[in-house]
């Protein structure tokens, strides 16, 4: 067993975990943060994407033990109470989701991009950036609409 101390969505958490426990299972099973979805469990689908010290990471490709001492942000950490983040709002406005399985991973990926973006990327560039997040419902058009709206705001400083 490994002792870990992790900050998750601003809250300090300590736990004793098995060395082999994945971060995704720690978030979902130990902390009950089931917003992080687990799809393929080998790094391809992107549904389990979270931010670790601000950088997107596949939580299924990290051991919980590797997150020791880090700050993790999950989809539960995006909204401020009832108020959605501008990225969540854009997904709602543009109908950028259907079943919602891929949505948490997409939101976390876009949250990282929005923090770095200086100008609104082209739709092609958005698709390239989102290549690591699979959606089986929407056909991506409305997701790209949502990301375009969100990054437009982020680039304009209107986060």
């Amino acid at each position: 067993m490994v002792e870990i101390a992790v900050e998750v969505n601003g809250r300090a958490e300590t736990a004793e975990v098995d060395g082999r426990m994945l971060l995704s299972d720690f978030l979902r099973g130990v902390l009950g943060l089931t917003g992080t979805h687990v799809g393929c469990e080998h790094g391809y689908c992107g549904s389990c994407t979270v931010l670790v010290d601000g950088a997107s990471a596949r939580s299924c490709l990290m051991l919980a033990a590797q997150a020791n001492g880090s700050s993790v942000r999950t989809v539960e950490g995006l909204a401020d109470g009832e108020e959605l983040s501008s990225i969540q709002q854009a997904f709602k406005d543009c109908h950028g989701l259907q079943c919602g399985f891929c949505t948490p991973g997409l939101l976390m990926t876009v949250t990282e991009i929005a923090a770095e973006v200086a100008s609104t990327p082209s739709r092609h560039q958005i698709r390239e950036q989102l290549a690591g997040n699979l959606c089986r419902c929407t056909g991506y058009h409305q997701i790209v609409d949502a990301v375009e709206q969100a990054l437009d705001q982020a680039a304009g400083g209107g986060r």
């Binding site: 082999r20 080998h42 596949r58 990926t109």
Partner: protein
Amino acid sequence: MKPPKFRYHAPSSQAEALDLLNAYGDEAVVLSGGQSLIPMLNLRLARPAEVIDLGSVGGMDLIVTEPDAVSVGARVTHRQMEADPDIARHLPMARDAAGFIGFRAIRNRGTVGGSVAHADPSAEWPVVLLALDGSVDLRSKSGARCLGGDDFFQTVFTTGRQADELVVSVRFASRFADNWGFSEFQRRTGDFAVVVAAVACAAGSGGIGEARVALAGVADRPVRCPEAEEALIATEDPQAVAEVARDAFDPVGDSHGSTAHRKQLVYAQVLRAAGEALARRDKGRPDG
């Protein structure tokens, strides 16, 4: 799926990591960024007894510019390679190659040393290492040694690293910074490469003095193509070089491409990479 049971070790220094490797040898695997190892654990393709996590070992994520090379610490991430100004200046091929690796989240965590030690024959760093006359620095409890790419990469997932050795850094020569080309074919953005061509050359008296043409996706390890290198020096014609490279290999066909398809991809990638290398050389000339 979930990883199998193993004992997790988080050494806090390189010396401690080397002690663990010395004690466990073949029983242990080294966890760097984990972007290849953890999928293999999840799929139970790897069942190590001991996992040695380098996450708490300091000093292995540095990029150091030397007089004629750049030394990249084993734990430097692909993302660092994409963003670092010294890499952009001295190893622009490496910067471009990094962008082809997986997805953003993978590049944030995956490391150069991890990828090199994993030795996937379709991976980017091994072929870049061959093209840029690179070498791998290994350290064990009993000493240190350095292996060139030809000696390090042996076959699929198999390197010259001994069980008690740790890849501590990877060195790339910087003399090709103005004369290089890199071209990769992947079926979808972020997929593994089907074929990669990396071309580097350096000026000699009255033309190209040194040429390196390295390929991934044609053999069980990244390889150089001496025939194409000679053709590049002799002809300075990308098409001639691409034809020679295409005819030099008979890659084994698989679900990602038949032999004929891969040969055509070799032609196309070498044509682009050699063309880029020559175009950069011409642009850098005073009369160019």
